[in-house]
Amino acid sequence: MQPSLPSKAQATLREVLPRLVLSPSLFLILLFVYGFIIYTGYLSLTDSRMLPSYELDGFGNYTKLWGQRNWLIALQNLAIFGILYIAICSVLGLVLAILLDQKIRGEGILRPIYLYPMALSFIVTGTAWKWFLDPGLGLENTMHLWGWESFTFNWIKDRNMAIYTVVIAAVWQSSGFVMAMFLAGLRGIDSEILKAAQMDGASRWSLYTRIVIPQLRPVFLSAFVVLAHLAIKAYDLVIALTNGGPGRATELPATFMYSYTFTRNQMGVGASSAVIMLAMIASIIVPYLYSELRERR
């Protein structure tokens, strides 16, 4: 039995309606994301300075960009920050997740304590850590007052070490989140496999290194993708913690782009640095999304 046939106009409407509903969002994304990417890409090839200019200038901005000491410092800092941030967060997250997975009493209290920094703004995190790391007010001062006179911890004032303080604060903020990801991964492992391995007499160590950790591969990948893209986008934390200093010691690509575009009137160079940042993220995200979407159908 067929339901009563709707009229032709209604049928057409019914056919198009879903696409119609989707279209405002699609329009916004196409314009504000992809249109803007093209626009910024175009600007990066022009001689724009304080205001956008549409005079094409070839790859002049890119040549200028790669000749800038500040840009090279920013990239070097991103490499140091990115590698340490991803590595420490992953290791710490995994270790905490495994420790928490040992039928801990009070897990319900500990887990939110590890995770709450993720709910904070990087500006708040930066404010707290700027103070905590300040030699005259924070940890160093406290240790002196507690009688450890020779204790020094002045990385935040030290050009060579300041970038590591950004790592410290960023790890504090994100490692609990990575822990939560690994914990969910651990809880998803089939307990039958573990029981079988235990019956075979596998030690606890080899249980984890041979069976559990290899099974967490997808979580490692997700954590890597999330952390890498957070690292490349890192901006707020540096602004709040060191404001790029001392000198330019904690400059990152995101702060470089902002200052060249909006305060140094080098919009073309700023645009070209944004294009490089996009390319870095795309090289990580696109393969990831491609494989994720393909697997599912």
Partner: protein, 292 residues
């Protein structure tokens, strides 16, 4: 291969104790900055300068909180952070509502009304979640100027809706993908149209994903700094930008206790949301990270 022997009871107990100590040590590490902020926000400035950041206040004062809320100099007038707190609320509520509603509809269409090319559209939306926002700052500033929204809260709402769409669509798409197609088919057979199917069948069981999405969007938009710093003016500045101005202002005496009170005020809404519905918060983070 030698087989590991069962550890004796004593060693097991020792290991257990070590395990708990390590876990508690980490809890201290994560709590310490919050503790320092809270403790020093109720001390007098003299006590902070001369004393230990870890020590409890000798004289308890609520004054820094009052100053941070209603007296501190941030803009031209000494208004405290309160107007900016309100700015943030005026920005967050519509932005979260609109982006969540659009995300729900998008997720519905992309899973239950599939059409050729829908996967490409979803891919385009998904990639939009991850772009570095530096790539859109320059054109966005111009477009906001052209449409007369530069320096306004509605301009910020627009920005946050656009760049939140990818995530909200992703959340709802993944959630609705797991929703049985048979129910939808049955509804369609019964003559239910596009809207009826959505409001009668999908929406009533969307509670959890709505909560997840709202929390995710709320946290992200409330905590945003880059867009606020780029597109807001003194009257529409959100809380994070105001806090940064307060903390990093180089004029006058640095009132650390006021800074801390301000930082806690800026953190309070997301912390409250997190404490009240932490379970969903975690789920939201996971949904954003692990697809499938």
């Amino acid at each position: 291969m030698s087989r590991s022997t069962q550890p004796s009871f004593g060693i097991e107990k020792l290991l257990r104790a070590a395990l708990y100590s390590v876990l508690i040590l980490f809890a201290v590490y994560y709590l310490l900055p919050l503790f320092v902020m809270l403790v020093n926000s109720v001390k007098t400035l003299d006590e902070i300068r001369g004393g230990n950041m870890m020590s409890l206040p000798e004289v308890f004062t609520f004054e820094p909180w009052l100053v941070a809320w209603s007296k501190a100099q941030i803009g031209v007038e000494p208004t405290g952070l309160s107007p900016y707190f309100i700015n943030s609320i005026m920005m967050v509520v519509p932005a979260v509502t609109i982006s969540t509603a659009l995300g729900a509809l998008n997720g519905y269409v992309l899973t239950k009304w599939r059409f050729p090319g829908d996967k490409i559209i979803f891919g385009l939306m998904l990639f939009a979640c991850f772009i570095p926002f530096q790539i859109v700052l320059i054109p966005m500033a111009r477009v906001l100027g052209i449409i007369g929204m530069a320096g306004t809260t509605s301009g910020l709402v627009l920005v946050h809706v656009v760049y939140g769409l990818g995530f909200t669509t992703l959340f709802f798409r993944n959630y609705y993908a797991a929703f049985p197609d048979e129910l939808i088919k049955a509804a369609k057979m019964d003559g239910a149209g596009f809207w009826r199917t959505f409001t009668r069948i999908l929406l009533p069981s969307s509670g959890p994903i709505i909560v997840v999405t709202v929390i995710w969007q709320f946290t992200n938009i409330w905590n945003d700094f880059l867009f606020g710093a780029s597109f807001a003016d003194f009257d529409s500045m959100p809380m994070t930008v105001a806090l940064n101005n307060l903390v990093s202002s180089s004029t006058g005496v640095k009132e650390y206790n006021v800074h801390f009170a301000g930082a806690v005020l800026a953190a309070l809404p997301t912390l409250v949301v997190y404490v009240v519905s932490g379970r969903y918060f975690v789920r939201g983070l996971m949904a954003g990270a692990v697809k499938g």
